[in-house]
């Protein structure tokens, strides 16, 4: 029991950190531009595929730097030539624009790299078990993932709250005209923020690609849960996203490790109810519903604390 508990905690933290890696970019874009980027998971996927391609040519470490830069540049271009045109129509068309973009990116990726998973390997330098706990190995690569997430979290917080650039960026969101009058190029600030946000997603992609599977449907797989993280944490709050990622990672992992069901707790259902829909609820185990836990959490949060865990505003 202790063994499962410790391992589940570790797995939960690892998964949570991966979620945060992805959600951080989304949160930055949202808190800065007010745009909910539906194509965010697509940039995560682009990061993974760029990383795969570059690491095939130059090795993993250059890929870790170049792939996010590429994806970030692409993101900046999307902002400059796409989103900015739509901006004048309001936030909803912006959202729809990214929605269409997600469609197109997925198809382009599957044209270029095919629909089957590609063989993206963990770099040899990190391909060893970091430590062994209760005879379960912990790959060094996952620990690396953990470290990178924490670095990004701390780095972002400092960049936003303590540096001059961060302050200008924050000011540009609420008072774009004032910032403009002060001599800053607001358009360029927005473009940079969007670029940085998508680059962060790509970092997550390069790191998650070898750890999970690199495939043209990976965006659709993680997309919805990212939004849960962002909403549960509080729209636009970076510490909130951090907390929510951890929470969701842990909740999901622990739910998987539990076998309990109502039938287990209260004994089997009486036979005359056995064929009704009640029996489904009665017999379903917690492990089975683990993947919908984040959505349950989302609904609960929306009912009891609509601004999210650490959010400050209602909308």
């Amino acid at each position: 029991m202790l063994e499962l508990f410790v391992i589940s905690t570790l797995n939960g933290i690892l998964f949570g950190m991966l979620l945060f890696l992805m959600a951080s970019g989304l949160t930055v874009i949202f808190s800065m531009l007010g745009v909910l980027n539906f194509a965010h998971a697509s940039f995560y996927m682009l990061g993974a595929f760029f990383g795969f391609q570059i690491s095939k040519w130059f090795g993993f470490w250059p890929a870790l730097v170049i792939a996010p830069l590429l994806a970030g540049a692409l993101g900046a271009m999307v902002e400059r030539y796409g989103l900015r045109q739509v901006h004048k129509y309001g936030h909803v068309p912006e959202l729809l624009f990214t929605f269409g973009l997600a469609f197109a990116i997925e198809e382009i990726v599957s044209i270029v790299w095919g629909k089957s998973p590609v063989d993206f390997r963990v770099p040899a330098l990190l391909d060893f078990p970091a430590f062994t706990l209760f005879s379960t190995n912990y790959p060094a690569f996952k620990i690396f993932m953990l470290v990178i997430s924490i670095i990004i979290f701390v780095g972002l917080l400092i960049a936003l709250k303590k540096t001059r650039v961060g302050l200008i960026v924050q000011a540009a969101l609420t008072h774009p005209h004032m910032v403009g009058h002060l001599g800053h190029n607001v358009g360029r600030i927005f473009m940079l923020v969007f670029g940085v946000g998508t680059a962060l997603a790509a970092v997550a992609g390069v790191i998650a690609g070898p750890a999970l599977v690199t495939q043209s449907n990976m965006a659709g797989l993680l997309g919805p849960i990212l939004f849960v993280v962002v909403v549960v944490g509080g729209l636009g709050s970076l510490p909130g996203a951090f907390l929510a990622s951890l929470l969701i990672g842990l909740v999901q992992t622990f739910a998987v490790s539990m076998n309990g069901s109502l039938a287990g707790a209260f004994g089997p259902l009486s036979p005359d109810l056995a064929t009704t829909w009640l029996s489904d609820i009665w017999n379903v185990t917690i492990a089975q519903i683990a993947p919908i836990m984040p959505y349950v959490l989302l609904v609960l949060i929306l009912i009891f604390r609509p601004m999210g865990l650490l959010g400050t505003r209602e909308t």
Binding site: Q85, F103, I111, L302
Partner: protein, 364 residues
């Protein structure tokens, strides 16, 4: 308000309708098939009433997120509540087994066609009537300026909630009709893909116009059925068309057409036509070039080494042929530059025509 979870009500309506058909057939209730969509509609309404209160608390982006979360929740639960939703395979029914009216079995597809058409007509009329009621007017007001609505003494939340419930009702009817048509309801009905398609349709058709979603639905259905026969990468074109609509025609297809209304009234539309015709040629060339490029690239990426005589959009060509590559590039680049000039010309003509219309006092 942007709902990413509209399929929930559509799907639940469908499931309820299928179960209703089965129950009616088993117990020989005297309910004819044409009334079944009403059951689906009620199902959609009831679930919209249940889930709507939470989700309509906020509008805009937050509402979109909440609806997405709820949709995922319901869609995932559908696979767990197996007895009701029939798991992955879904629930099926036989529509011919219910009470017959006027000797209509509803077996042949043509009878279903009329049934669907009749219900659609009823729903369209009902919806149009709805937009003419005070509630409908208030809905528009909430969309345009919720704060003002509050000043007038209405709660925007309540109005959003009502609108949401009605939307759920009509989605339920649609779901029931789909269920009757296909005689099966499964969890794909509830999924994000379904919601996404509806959204695409509405937006491409044009929000803010009553007939917009109708135009959009027809267009998108044609696209998704037709495009996948014509080209493998239909999703790409689909996404690009959507982006193009958002970028260039924020009012959707209907919006584009409606823009011409003042010109027609002023009788200056005739002036636009030559400009359109001139622009048509290079723009078409550009599009053809683009499609050729995409298809050639797709061929080299996906089918490398296969038979190079491919067929896209029903037109066969040789993807290995350098000549084709050249033509594609020339069409794309040349078409783009010439087309850009003609677009400018159109814009100038447009201003002209519109100014004259304004002078005549028929356009704002």
């Amino acid at each position: 308000m942007l709902s990413f979870g509209h399929a929930v009500y559509y799907g639940l309506g469908g499931f309820l309708a299928i179960h209703a058909i089965n129950i009616i057939a088993r117990n020989k209730f005297a309910i004819p098939l044409p009334l079944v969509p009403l059951i689906g509609g009620m199902a959609g309404l009831i679930f919209a009433m249940l889930l709507g209160w939470v989700s309509t608390k906020r509008s805009g982006t937050a509402f979109a997120m909440i609806s997405l979360g709820l949709a995922e929740l319901v869609a995932s639960s559908a696979l767990i509540l197996r007895t009701f939703f029939g798991g992955e395979a879904g629930v099926s029914a036989n529509r011919t087994k219910v009470l017959r009216l006027f000797d209509w079995s509803f077996g042949p597809q043509i009878q279903i066609y009329y049934l669907v058409a009749a219900w659609t007509l009823i729903a369209v009329i009902a919806m149009y009537a709805l937009t003419r009621t005070p509630l409908g007017r208030m809905c528009n007001a909430v969309r345009d300026n919720p704060e003002r609505v509050q000043f007038v003494g209405y709660d925007p939340h309540v109005i959003r909630y009502f609108a949401f419930c009605f939307a759920g009702f009509f989605a339920g009817i649609a779901g029931a009709l789909a269920a009757i048509n296909f005689e099966i309801a499964n969890s794909a009905y509830l999924g994000a893909v379904q919601s996404g398609t509806v959204l695409f349709a509405t937006y491409i058709g044009g929000v803010g116009f009553f007939i917009g979603p109708i135009v959009g639905a027809i267009f998108v259905t044609l696209l998704s059925l037709g495009l996948s026969d014509l080209t493998q990468v239909w999703q790409l074109y689909f996404g690009l068309i959507f982006i193009a609509v958002v970028l260039f025609a924020p009012g959707g297809l209907t919006g584009l057409l409606m823009m011409h209304w003042p010109l027609i009234k002023a009788g200056t539309l005739g002036r636009m036509i030559p400009a359109y015709l001139i622009a048509f040629v290079p723009t078409l060339a550009m599009l053809v070039g683009f499609i050729l490029c995409v298809e050639v690239i797709v061929f080299h990426m996906v089918h490398a080494g296969g038979d190079s005589h491919i067929k896209a959009f029903g037109i066969p060509f040789d993807a290995e042929n350098r000549g084709v590559w050249g033509i594609a590039t020339v069409l794309l680049i040349g078409g783009f530059f010439i087309a850009r000039m003609t677009w400018k010309m159109i814009a100038a003509r447009w201003d002209d025509a519109l100014n004259e219309a304004r002078a005549k006092g028929v356009a704002a």
